[in-house]
């Protein structure tokens, strides 16, 4: 089995008996052992659990029971996702040693699909950060350039997928926590519509934006994983019922007359405010242009939309809401019930000791900011105002999407930055989320893929769709993937000649 084997291919081979589940786990473990000393993408390797899962799957396959869609596929989960009986730390000292006593919806669905959860990915502490450098257990290196960050918060998962540990990882996206690392590490990142995938068992950061998403190396694998983890879950009140389209059909090779121009009739918009923006790196601009050319080649009509509010105020609005909600989500870590509990002689000193020791600097900064923002004399001026801006941003995005099928824009303003580059400069670092917070604020689905030139650092381009427009996103990304493959083929033929 090669590193590059996709989830779809793995599941097919395991289902047909060509590959045994234990072998896929072994390959994961071997790769992780080799690469971990340099990358530190993982916080926990669940070797025993994965071994048991592989054996169970093996037994059920040999009994002739039908294989699941992800049979034998190794998966990494970010460390904010609960897997019963295993450590879930959110990369924080606060939860060091805490064993989750219950399963997240995601881990249940992965288990029943035949997937094998192999490890927990490193992340920024409680998902606060954009580089995985705030992890209490050490930073992760970018597999494409170890001197650079993998992005964050889901940097560990993105690095694990990029480095070929596993074809799939699931991580929570709040304001770009998954899309930005996908861009930096050169993998696919899919942030589904808010409410399409259950958040049950996923530690909260900002619940109005938190959404479990997928990191993969192919668009087909993203579609496959989405088919497994999406759907209504009554345990998540924000989970929305409704029929799901066939995501696999969306990425299937179109036949007949559509084959060459699969996006004919699709209107794909660029954002006017993006043009001439001096803060967009050349590589990212080129990645977008390259993508637009491929979209056009696939038959799409290119149009332009104006999103002044979303792009001028989106990030500020996001920061206020994030801090407010995060301070609330993090309040429960008080040393009384679970995780770290400081020695103390009074309740107040228990709180101060536990939260003082348990939280890192960035977490404290955001929790303090959120506490300030929610103060009764600032609530209207900060929180309420940001909520109103959010409502208008949502309106602006939905209006724009009423006139086109998808919006295309760079995932990040730059490629992966150097480790330590923004040490202590939270604002500077947060600019890396400049283009991802919009989809988060509006609960829209977005898909990021690598569009960098050959031999360059990864540079992601994302497509944003209307709510529940995942099939359209996947179809467009699949079309681009095929255009690129045919160009590569042509290039190879030319160079052979």
């Amino acid at each position: 089995m090669q590193l590059s084997m996709t989830a779809a291919e793995t599941a097919r081979r395991v289902s047909e008996g060509e590959l045994r589940p234990l072998e896929t786990v072994d390959v994961f473990m071997k790769t992780a052992r080799e690469r971990e000393p340099n990358l530190h993408a993982l916080l926990a390797v669940l070797e025993e659990r994965a071994g048991h899962a592989a054996e169970r799957l093996d037994a059920s396959l040999s009994r002739g029971e039908g294989p699941g869609p992800l049979s034998g596929v190794p998966v990494v989960l970010d460390d904010g996702i609960c897997v019963r009986g295993t450590p879930t730390t959110c990369a924080s000292r606060m939860l060091e040693g805490w064993i989750a006593p219950y399963d997240s919806a995601a881990s249940e669905m992965l288990d029943s699909s035949g997937a094998i959860i192999c490890a927990k990915g490193n992340m920024d502490e409680f998902s606060i950060g954009c580089s995985t450098e705030t992890s209490a257990f050490g930073a992760t290196a970018n597999p494409c350039d170890p001197g650079r960050v993998p992005g964050g918060s889901a940097g560990g998962c993105a690095a694990a997928v990029a480095a070929g540990y596993a074809p799939l990882a699931l991580a929570c996206d709040t304001g770009g926590s998954l899309l930005q690392p996908a861009s930096y590490c050169g993998v696919y990142g899919l942030r589904p519509t808010y409410g399409l995938v259950s958040r049950w068992g996923v530690a909260a950061l900002a619940p109005s934006m938190d959404q479990l998403g997928i990191l993969s190396r192919t668009v087909e694998d993203a579609a496959l994983a989405l088919s497994v983890i999406s759907g209504h879950d009554p345990r998540d009140a924000m989970s929305s019922p409704g029929d799901r389209p066939d995501y696999m059909a969306a990425v299937a090779v179109p036949d007949g007359k559509d084959a060459r121009r699969p996006l004919a009739g699709r209107r794909i918009a660029t954002v006017a405010e993006m043009r001439g923006g001096s803060d967009l790196a050349g590589a990212c601009r080129e990645a977008l242009d390259r993508t637009l050319a491929m979209l056009a080649e696939a038959g799409a009509e290119l149009v332009e939309v104006h999103l002044p509010l979303s792009f001028n105020h989106g990030l500020a609005c996001y920061q206020v809401l994030l801090a407010a909600e995060a301070s609330s989500s993090l309040a429960r870590f008080d040393g009384v019930r679970h995780g770290l509990s400081a020695e103390a002689d009074s309740l107040n000193s228990l709180y101060l000791g536990t939260r003082g020791k348990g939280f890192g600097r960035e977490v404290k900064r955001v929790a303090a900011a959120g506490t300030y923002i929610l103060g009764s004399d600032r609530y209207e001026d900060c929180y309420l105002r940001a909520s109103n801006v959010r409502r208008r941003i949502v309106g602006e995005l939905l209006d724009a999407l009423a006139g086109c099928d998808l919006i295309a824009l760079p995932t990040t303003p730059t490629t992966a930055f150097r480790r330590g580059e923004f040490d202590g400069d939270y604002f500077g670092m947060s600019l890396s989320l400049s283009f991802t917070v919009q989809a988060s604020l509006a609960g829209l689905p977005a898909l990021s893929f690598n569009a960098a030139g050959a031999g360059e650092l990864p540079a992601g381009v994302q497509l944003i769709a209307p709510r529940r427009g995942e099939a359209g996103l996947l179809a467009a990304a699949a079309a681009i993937e095929r255009v690129r493959a045919s160009r590569d083929e042509a290039g190879e033929r030319r160079s052979e000649r």
Binding site: G80, C82, A100, R199, E325, R332, R337
Partner: protein
Amino acid sequence: MRHVYTPVIGLEIHVQLATESKLFCPCSTDYIGAEPNTNVCPVCLGLPGALPTLNARAVELAVRAAMGLSCEIHDGTIFHRKHYFYADLPKAYQVSQYDRPLADRGELYISGDGGSPKRIGITRLHLEEDAGKLVHSAADGRLEGARESYADFNRGGVPLAEIVSDPDIGSPREAREYVSALRRLVRYLGVSDGDMDRGSMRVDANVSVVKSNADTGEILYRGDRAEIKNMNSLRSVERALEYEIRRQRATLESGGTLERETRHWNDGEGVTTSMRSKEAALDYRCLPDPDLGPIEVSREMLDAIRSSLPEMPWEREARFIGDYSLSEVDAAVLVETPALADYYERCVRSGASPLRASNWVRTEVLRVLNERGVGIEECPVRPEELGLLVSMLDEGRASTTVAKEIFGLMVDRGLSLQEATDRCGAHGGLSQEDLELAAKSVLDANPDVLAEIMGGRDLKGKKRKFICGLVMKETRGRATPGAVEDVIARFLEGME
């Protein structure tokens, strides 16, 4: 210048809703006597990743209560998170409602101090979750002086309706009336057991006094209000308010001022003590809960709940007064709980006269329940049997003494009415012969009275009644008045 001090009281009452499961998770609400931390799950423990889902039954019960209070009920109200750190609050925030309550602008009528019904406005009714319970190792169970404290989250997440009254309550007695009227209402509606001693109804009071000129009525000073907590019975509500009003008045009389503060009622010592001042008041940093959508209250739901509402306690009270000619006081006793009122009505429906049935239920039945410390549901005598027993009295088929004896046998031995009556015998075991002997001995012992009757001087029949009374006494109350009159009449006829 003479001054008057007028108390102004508003009550905030937390009513525990009678749901099977908690407000946001499937855990049982039956926490009394349960092993600590057994009715818990990731949701009510606030574990990372756990999410709330709203219990529809709790919304139904809250809407029912709101209807009973004639509130305006709103569709699409939202939950807020109210943040504060305390060891019994697992998420460090309580899910409650803030600026948009489920219902508001209602009313409840009580018997006012002036004797007539008084309207108390209901400011709002909202849904929220309960906190857990701390158990302290100190001797008196309080935090002070405790070396260890334990947190039990069995109660955490139990649904509460917080009902806030307008400051319309004018005295401790009216406060007591209000609490008992509300308790009666929630019991009628089936939204809560309303038991204050089990904590199903918890009362906080906001109280202030207004100082005014006794002659002109001009308001001279409005004291800031104090919030009184920890009043666990009707009696302690009344006592705490009496104390607090005296205290505030004395402060003003001695030239002091009153600041807004929270005070704790100490039932043992009969005083309130300051818990925290306005400066130390908590900033709850309210945040609309992003994990919960708006509370849907559809028209269909409102119609369904409205059509399932029972007869309200005040309606039943009026009907008892009208239909059964009961006094207001007696009717109020009988309608205190729907079960007691049902018991009474079943008794009447099986043939008892309404007045005598009312007397029996209020005295004999309630006495037995009190002695046994049980509710009417566990009354050893079925209402239909009591009805038949009372109708035996109505029809002169048993004397009061015998009826009480029969009732006693039913209560103590668990006998049916038939068995108990057989045990006492017809006419309480008194044979016609016994009765005649008793009559004869009374007449023999009172020749002078007999002479007056026979001589036609007993114009008002008083002497005859006197004789009958003596015969009753002679039978130790076992003979029915009718039987005694019959036998005396026959004796007198025989003598003419």
